[in-house]
């Protein structure tokens, strides 16, 4: 069966899925590519998590016990890059690949070959990036990996960057190409491949949030590419974009970076809004409250994200008028974000709720994302931000929105759709253990960071003054606990992949709605060859 299928790869009408390595390497099937993205992002999540374990081990007690401060900086840098570009972003692209065609009744993504390429760039990009860490740890003379933080501020990353900065630049370019291609694919698919009757305002909110995310990606990834290209020419071709000694401007770097960087944080969180907006109605057995206002709120958040970038750089010494503008705009973002949270609460209100695993993660998302959003509002208040800026308070804030926000919602999505992907119900016992351990340990890990931050501990510190010791100890314990808990999810997914467990029906969740539940579980290799008609 396998050989016959492999030789007929190019036939669009063959009855067997190709097997073996070729199935994955040459795949143009949205489901297989989605699976590749999801496994890849999980591998990156564990690798980035391992780097975080090194950071937390070093910060367990004051003093330098395990690594050199130089190596510590490499850990914080690569941890951030791997988690942002390797874990969260590819995971949401994987979900988009799997779910968007199923949700809008399309047979596949619009540009399947490009889809293949946009995935297969990623393993090479991350081999380059992580390779520099491996060389730093084990290579002769320990050549430094990128050590300037994931924000790679010039001139630390240009004039003072290690040789591996060039590897980093190449790697970021490759990740950017991959992201742009993925985004174009989503836009083209959503605009051209909807089933008859699937109007824009009937699309599931996950499709909407991803469509808006895709536009954000297309708008800002080229800006990131511009920033790293300017770094490259500053480093090797005699330009002085960011070098004050040559008439350049180090602050320009921060403006360019954050013009990318702020929309980037919405790129990571908007798909989560879509996921949660699918799961909460399903388990509350009640339609989503305020569908239209959800769409408009998502669009306003996306638009506002282009005029708030300088709130990441209030301390660079901007003029008063500029500072005030960015403060007001940033505060304004909390209005549409608040609308979303209230809509989710209203969806639950007077519903008939049950608390299966996806719902548990989704509710944890709403509560903890709100916590991260509110500390974000505190950070918007500029005079106080002068105190918070670059402390652990900021670290607490963005881990609340990214870990207990984006990543919790990705877990929710995985538990919700794993029956569809694999045909197997995720193991309940392991899943419950995964949820409760993650929930408690993540809060032990991230909540005390607010306190050390307010007490005055700057971020990216390899070592700290003695008054921060007690909290850091508990933060580290929470970190190890959270890290180990994720191995439970590995077990859950491996069991599903090995087809071990209870068989899933086509629609395993009673209240779930949407086209994806009308195809069998696991979803066949090809779905919606004939488009469904949406009434």
């Amino acid at each position: 069966m396998s050989t016959a299928a492999a030789t007929h790869d190019d036939h669009h009408d063959h009855h067997h899925a190709p097997t073996g390595l070729k199935r994955w390497l040459f795949s143009t099937n949205h489901k297989d590519i989605g699976t590749l993205y999801l496994w890849f992002s999980f591998a990156m999540f564990l690798s980035g998590g391992f780097l975080a374990m090194v950071i937390r081990a070093e910060l367990l007690e004051p003093g330098m016990q395990f690594v050199d401060p130089e190596f510590f900086n490499q850990m914080t840098t690569v941890h951030g890059l791997v988690m942002v570009f390797g874990a969260v972003m590819p995971a949401t692209v994987g979900l988009a690949n799997w779910m968007i065609p199923l949700m809008i009744g399309a047979p596949d993504m619009a540009l399947p070959r490009m889809n293949n390429w946009s995935f297969w760039i990623l393993p090479f990009a991350f081999t380059i990036l992580i390779g520099s860490v491996v060389m730093s740890a084990f290579g002769a003379g320990n050549p430094s990996a990128p050590n300037f933080g994931w924000t790679f501020y010039a001139p630390l990353s240009t004039k003072y960057g290690p040789a591996s900065t060039d590897l980093f630049i190449l790697s970021v370019h490759m990740m950017g190409i991959s992201s742009i291609m993925g985004a174009i694919n989503v836009v083209v698919t959503v605009f051209n491949m909807r089933a008859p009757g699937m109007t824009l305002m009937k699309m599931p909110l996950f499709v909407w949030t991803w469509l808006i995310t895709a536009f954000l990606l297309i708008a800002v990834i080229p800006v990131l590419a511009g920033a790293v290209t300017m770094m490259l020419t500053d480093r090797h071709f005699g330009t002085s974009f960011f070098d004050a000694a040559g008439g350049g401007d180090p602050v320009l770097f921060q403006h360019v970076f954050w013009f990318f960087g702020h929309p980037e944080v919405y790129i990571m969180i908007l798909p989560s809004f879509g996921i949660v907006s699918a799961i909460i109605p399903a388990f509350a057995r009640k339609p989503l409250f305020g569908y239209a206002s959800m769409v408009y709120a998502t669009a306003s958040i996306a638009l506002l994200s282009f005029v708030v970038w300088a709130h990441h750089m209030f301390t660079v010494g901007m003029p008063l008028a500029g500072t005030l503008f960015f403060m007001y705009m940033t505060m304004l973002i909390s209005v549409p974000t608040g609308v979303k949270v209230f809509n989710w609460v209203a969806t639950m209100w007077r519903g008939s709720m049950t608390f299966e695993l996806p719902m548990k993660w989704a509710i944890a998302f709403v509560v903890l994302f709100t916590c991260g959003g509110l500390s974000g509002l505190m950070l918007a208040i500029t005079p106080v931000d002068f105190q918070y800026h670059d402390t652990y308070f900021v670290v607490a804030h963005f881990h609340y929105v990214l870990v207990t926000g984006a990543i919790f919602s990705i877990f929710a999505a995985a538990y919700y759709w794993l029956p569809k992907w694999s045909g197997i119900m995720p193991n309940k016992t392991l899943g419950e253990l995964h949820f409760w351990n993650s929930l408690i340990s993540a809060n032990l890990l991230f909540f005390p960071m607010h306190f050390v931050g307010l007490a005055g501990m700057p971020r990216r510190y390899a070592d700290y003054a003695l008054q921060f010791a007690d909290y850091n100890f508990w933060i580290s314990i929470g970190g190890f606990w959270f890290g180990l808990s994720q191995l439970l999810f590995l077990a859950v997914t491996v069991l599903c992949a090995m087809k071990k467990g209870e068989k899933a029906p086509a629609k395993p969740w009673e209240g779930a709605e949407g086209l994806e539940w009308e195809v069998p579980s696991p979803a066949p290799f090809h779905t919606y060859d004939t488009p469904p008609v949406v009434k």
């Binding site: 004051p62 003093g63 330098m64 016990q65 395990f66 690594v67 050199d68 401060p69 130089e70 190596f71 900086n73 740890a137 320990n142 050590n147 300037f148 001139p155 630390l156 003072y160 004050a244 000694a245 350049g248 180090p250 602050v251 409250f289 239209a292 301390t315 660079v316 010494g317 005030l324 007001y328 209005v335 608040g338 609308v339 209230f342 609460v345 007077r350 519903g351 709720m353 608390f355 509560v367 709100t370 509110l374 505190m378 208040i381 005079p383 106080v384 002068f386 105190q387 800026h389 670059d390 306190f451 307010l454 007490a455 005055g456 700057p458 510190y461 390899a462 070592d463 003054a465 008054q467």
Partner: protein
């Protein structure tokens, strides 16, 4: 600040909840879980604003969580088997758009006022230029009252000895560089009370007078932050940023801070210590420093190599060891132990030149060290670590070098 309703409510609640918050010039007595009130009027306004906003977001957060919790209990399937079907309500949707907007305006008003105040650096009586270096600070006194030509400047380095922070537990492995390998398995000395905060030369400023800091950098971006003064300002090469502090009379003492922008390997090891003294003490101190600065460099020759070695070791440990290793084994910088550069007499002139004028990543030390210190440290580098060249460099040799 004091006039807003929010503030009064917040202050009342805070005093109920938190009692006995102490003012501490000693940073290590941190204010438990909260932002430090600091010592300046502005830092206290910032803290008030923080408290106000913290209470607002806490109330909103508890409200949201409360509604979710209530719904989870009352609207579960066992209690409410038949779900309602409503999915929009214009009144509520407008309500929860407008109310947050009004709350935001209520927060923006006091925030704007404090921000304007923080921005006002005019009419200062002392101006100090603060320059960030990898990984130390320098302070240059520019003007004080009517004196526009003070000419006093010095560098400020971490005073915590490396043995206190280097406590490796693994040999080799992930501990790639430097001196620390020798310390594996040795008992770490007890850490000082002001571990990683103490410096050799403190920034000295008077109380009761407005001090303007002009903040810049010589290499990468640093950030000058003394939490008790109410905020930080980035030190950016090619830019001069302004910030200010007015420590009230009666609050004299030492205030600590740390670099708050990632600046490379020793980012965590370049603290700031500010000693606030009375105006009389400050005037006496600055006059002495001016006199010392005016008298020119001390070019008295060393009596012998031992004297130069002794002074050189002190300089080496505070200024060179971070990059070149405590035992001259190198790291970010060149190695000295047994190398051609440090042992062959042909390189002696080059050795002096690198310190005086800098080379590639090595900064010049003309501004940071006196000729006597440079002479002492070169002597040390050429005779310590088993080099034993017998070279003795005199202050005049360095002073004459261009």
């Amino acid at each position: 600040m004091q006039s807003t309703l929010f503030h009064r409510a917040a202050a009342g609640l805070t005093s109920l909840m938190i009692s006995g918050m102490t003012f501490a010039s000693d940073w290590t007595e941190r204010s438990d879980l909260d932002l430090r009130p600091g010592v300046t009027q502005v830092s206290q306004e910032v803290q008030n604003l923080h408290t106000t906003v913290l209470w607002i977001v806490t109330v909103i957060g508890l409200l949201v969580c409360g509604l979710i919790l209530f719904s989870m209990i009352r609207h579960r399937r066992s209690k409410n088997p038949n779900p309602s079907t409503f999915h929009e309500n214009v009144f509520f949707e407008v309500l929860w758009t407008v109310i947050p907007f009004v709350i935001l305006i209520a927060m923006a008003v006091p925030a704007t006022r404090v921000l304007v105040q923080l921005d006002d650096t005019a009419e200062s009586e002392l101006t100090v230029k603060v320059t960030g270096y990898r990984w130390k600070w320098s302070y240059e006194y520019l003007t004080y009252e009517d004196d526009n030509d003070i000419g006093v400047s010095f560098f400020s380095n971490l005073a915590t000895p490396p043995e206190q922070y280097n406590n490796p537990v693994l040999s080799g492995g992930l501990f790639p560089y430097g001196t620390a390998k020798d310390l594996v398995g040795k008992d770490a000395p007890e850490k000082d009370h002001n571990y990683n905060l103490e410096v050799d030369n403190k920034l000295i400023i008077p109380s009761g007078q407005k001090v303007r800091f002009l903040v810049t950098s010589d290499d990468v971006i640093h950030s000058f932050w003394v939490p008790d003064f109410g905020g930080k300002k980035d030190a950016i090469p090619g830019f001069v940023n302004e910030t200010w502090a007015l420590v009230p009379e009666g609050k004299e003492g030492t205030y600590y801070g740390q670099c708050a922008e990632l600046c490379g390997k020793n980012h965590a090891f370049m603290p700031i210590a500010v000693e606030v003294v009375t105006q009389d003490e400050f005037k006496t101190w600055i006059a002495e420093e001016k006199e010392k600065a005016a008298s020119g460099p001390d070019l008295t020759p060393f009596a012998g190599i031992d004297q130069a070695m002794e002074e050189g070791k002190q300089v080496y440990d505070s200024a060179c060891a971070l990059c070149h290793g405590a035992n001259g084994e190198g790291g970010i910088g060149l190695a000295f132990a047994g190398t051609e550069f440090a042992t062959n007499k042909e390189h002696l002139n080059e050795h002096i030149d690198v310190l005086v004028n800098g080379r590639a990543a090595m900064p010049n030390f003309k501004a940071q060290l006196t000729p006597r210190q440079i002479a002492a440290v070169i002597t040390y580098e050429r005779n310590a670590f088993g080099n034993d060249t017998g070279d003795l460099i005199q202050p005049a040799d360095v002073n004459d070098h261009e």
